[in-house]
Symmetry: C2
Subunit: 238 residues, 2 copies
């Protein structure tokens, strides 16, 4: 598949406001802008592979990307799903290690690549930006600690409910008394997020649907009763 380039100035990017580049001084932003390469990816294409060396930073301009690890038996675990405004692959870049995960496009995506050198240059000469990156990374780490504890002690049912609520927060489109999760996930991907078998997800989703907690809209899930879902996730005691 040929790489399809596109171009958009960072200053004009719709997602600048959601990004860590927001607030960067014009000079630094233009440095990033002048060195970036923007590429359109189709669903299923890979952005980077586990075990390879990062050469720069990816900044999402459109679409959705899953970042996952494969275990020995080939089962996926999805670490996170990137949406417009998110950085991709910064962990390995900043720790100067190989990628520990693979990134694959879930929904057709537009992604800008910023070479390592340009990114590090801005990082180095701009302590405020560096500080913001550190803050974001550490925040992200807190989320992972939360996930670890959840994975260790919650049942699959609780985890599925909790993850649906999380997806609702990140990708939710508010409707009247309900929220559509704007993310077309296969049952298999959802299982890889929750850390369980596909069949188990299917069964539990049917139950949640039967209980009126969710409904299906094409490939997407609508959260009908977030409160009951939170109860299933054991986030509310009552």
């Amino acid at each position: 598949m040929a790489k399809v380039e596109f171009n958009i100035a960072c200053t004009l990017c719709d997602h600048l406001k959601d990004s860590l580049f927001n607030g960067l001084n014009p000079e630094d932003l233009s440095r990033i802008n002048n060195h970036k390469t923007c590429i359109q990816y189709k669903k299923g294409q890979n952005i980077f592979y586990e075990g390879t060396r990062p050469t720069g930073l990816y900044c999402m301009n459109g679409g959705k990307v899953k970042v996952f690890k494969n275990n020995v038996q080939g089962k996926e675990f999805i670490i996170y799903i990137a949406k417009p405004g998110d950085f991709l692959g910064y962990r390995a870049l900043l720790s100067e290690e190989f990628y520990q995960a693979t990134a694959t496009v879930l929904e057709d995506a537009k992604i800008c690549f910023i070479p390592k050198e340009s990114f590090f240059e801005v990082l180095q000469k701009n302590p405020t930006f560096m500080r913001r990156v550190v803050q974001a990374v550490c925040h992200e780490m807190g989320i992972m600690e939360e996930k670890l504890a959840e994975l260790a002690h919650k049942s699959v049912r609780e985890r599925l409910a909790a993850n649906l609520l999380m997806l609702k927060e990140s990708y939710g489109m508010e409707g009247e008394g309900s929220t559509l999760i704007e993310l077309a996930l296969s049952r298999e991907d959802l299982a890889s997020i929750v850390g369980t078998a596909t069949e188990t997800v299917i069964r539990l989703l049917s139950e949640f649907k039967a209980d009126g907690l969710i409904s299906f809209e094409g490939k997407k899930i609508r959260v009908l009763d977030a409160r009951k879902l939170a109860k299933q996730a054991d986030l509310i005691i009552a």
Copy 2:
């Protein structure tokens, strides 16, 4: 319990070489040194609590500390165990959030407290140090990603074996053909590391012992056959 203070110059600290402060210029190190307070803690004492606001950074000079989260039912999940040279509580400090975990002394500890202001001052005016901190944080994050995937798809047996090997790496004291894990962990704590029930850990440890993979030395575990343990952890296919 009264706080017992002690004092040791950072420059003379045995663990400086293992610490992120290693390589700091004399001026910055003395700034840290002049503002720190060093306290001796007894086993069972808490260093900080989940839900409170960090006011500085802890730097381990002696002993062992567990950092854990409690779930709704009161079950612990141990995120990591800090040893001399390690920083403690930096995540919440750097992300400017509340602590998401509690730190409790496992083995009598000596810990230095560096006030937020002093730490941030050095961080701000020393890009190289900042860079090293970022690198360390991102490396730590990689370990957590690994743990997430492990927790999601490995059996308790595999996880126990993998964690024993990990503990061996971090706290191992090499003997002749075997390694003693220099960390007196209760079965309950080990269960909180692996993310399982205490009884399950007890049963599996007995099995490992019966199979000649490990032996018990007081409260400590000796790894007799790391290779077979790795096989149990599903790290080696053969």
